[in-house]
Symmetry: C2
Subunit: 334 residues, 2 copies
């Protein structure tokens, strides 16, 4: 396309929109299912149980160290399927584009979306684009629905969690939150830290068959502490986390201390928090540590009967309550 | 909720978000499938062919005579499935909410979404909410994916269209476009006109079984003329529309003349354009006219061999070319 920036006319159904869809979306996302002339496409049957999820992505800036909005959107949805025990099969993509977005940047983001989807084994089967006037969008928002096929042998969920279960995390927490924060020029900081944005499918697949696995979640918005609160509220039990055991990179810790954030509330986009029978914990950690993204996997706490609270046992032996998140520390983080 | 307007903290994964999801989204959209604690939900199997679509909705204003963003989002996706020959089964909803949106308005819009989904027989199986800072959204954007089950006996598509086929429309064109336009205070106009936003599922169902049915599309963005261009480009044939036969309400015509719009390019959100074998046209019109939303159904033109153009035969007997849409006459129309 000759145009360097997105115009309102790229959203009106006419020639510019047709060219935009053909030259960016269809070109990158092409696969035998995608048919930009069809209102709806037929899906090939799958033999297993279908699983469905959806997520919206609004991260700012659109590109950050270790990832971008395009790959993040795929990872976010694939990870929701993976922690529910499903392998991704089909994705939909609804893009809301702000007038004035650079066409070259849109092209990079959709190329990255396409690469991430292919790497996860998911075909983009349907899409839509809208253009909103300047000042009514944030550059680009992506909305993705994911259809997966259940692979886990047991149905995973909060209901099976019991006192004594172990809390595991597949890697350091807060990398995504701090990487995005550093990428925002407003903070005047810089660093080498990369977002952890990645598919957790290999990590999930490695432990799907283990009978002691009860529950997995990817700790995105609100981070580890917020997943812990969901578990505490749903089960009525308390989560006792051990500060010394929770992996946090030095750079994440340093930025948090400088700016007053708590790493336990910062988003991860490529980690799993798992609740497992205590007897299975070592087996799962071993499986995770054999994978490139699981080398820092750790047992970080236990489920304790009653209380419904999230507790942090500090390195000095004290205990403090991690409250439920109220104010938003970092809007547009995912 | 005590809060009168959406805060950034309603999007952060913490307490405010949990309350927002529970008190608005889960309350209105509740059904046995929806599980706000799950990352992905299992779908009950369907016996027929699964069909998939997605669409984003950005209409401005969020509420307009005859509809609102909530019902429009359901109708848009249901209609994409219906014209592809499928009955809707499951929907996903990804909402991007702008900081400052009135909670009461959000509640009305999601209630309307829920009512429309239920009326169409579709269950909302998965959802997500994000909040973007003031000035980075348009109040509310809704993104919906729809999973349907194919019911039409023949596979519908552009490939079967032949010279001599008839072009039908299920009702007057341009009502949605003009209703939304009138609802924008900037035009200083007012009127009684209502949007045609509605499910076309009854209209589609009434003709799914007819062997002469070749292709259906709902003429949304870019209107009737844009659907005609899609057909012309895909088939290489020309579409010859007869001005006197295309139903256009007097008020739509009057507003178009006043503001310089062409009703053939204005969005409809509850109409079907169908291409059918000429011999089946009367049967389809009879079936449509028996339905409340099909009383003004009309045969509006013919497919002519070659040329790949869209022609309008005027009431005076002349012919003019309807060019493909370039500039956007009405951004944020759907």
């Amino acid at each position: 396309m000759d145009e360097q920036r997105i115009l309102l006319a790229h959203g009106n159904g006419g020639r510019f929109m047709r060219e935009l869809v053909a030259e960016i979306f269809a070109r990158h996302l092409a696969n035998p299912l995608l048919d930009t002339e069809a209102d709806a496409v037929p899906l090939p049957g799958v033999s297993g149980q279908l699983m469905l999820t959806t997520d919206g992505f609004t991260v700012q800036p659109l590109e950050f160290p270790g990832g971008n909005l395009g790959s993040l959107a795929v990872h976010g949805v694939v990870n929701d399927l993976a922690v529910a025990g499903a392998a991704p099969r089909y994705l939909t993509l609804s893009a809301i584009i702000e007038e004035g977005l650079e066409v070259a940047q849109l092209d990079r983001l959709i190329a990255s979306f396409a690469q991430a989807a292919q790497a996860c084994g998911a075909a983009v089967a349907a899409g839509d684009t809208k253009v909103v006037p300047r000042g009514q969008g944030g550059g680009l928002y992506l909305n993705v629905a994911g259809i997966g096929e259940r692979q886990a042998s047991a149905a995973l969920g909060l209901k099976g969690i019991r006192s004594g279960d172990a809390v595991l995390v597949s890697g350091p927490v807060g990398d995504h939150g701090v990487a995005v924060l550093l990428a925002r020029e407003q903070f005047g900081l810089s660093g080498e830290l990369q977002s952890d944005s990645a598919s957790v499918l290999p990590l999930a697949q490695a432990i799907w068959h283990l009978p002691g696995l009860k529950f997995m979640r990817d700790p995105t918005r609100g981070g580890l502490a917020t997943v812990a609160h969901e578990i505490a509220q749903a089960t009525g039990h308390s989560i006792n986390l051990q500060q010394a055991a929770v992996p946090v990179r030095g750079e994440v810790q340093a930025v948090c201390e400088m700016l007053g954030y708590d790493p336990y509330y910062l988003a991860c986009e490529g980690r799993i928090v798992a609740i497992v029978e205590a007897a299975t914990a070592e087996q799962i950690l071993t499986a995770w540590r054999a994978l490139p993204d699981g080398q820092d996997a750790a047992l970080i706490g236990r489920i304790e009967a009653g209380g419904g609270r999230v507790l942090l046992e500090t390195e000095l032996g004290g205990r403090r309550v991690l409250p439920e998140l109220e104010d938003d520390p970092l809007p547009r983080i995912c």
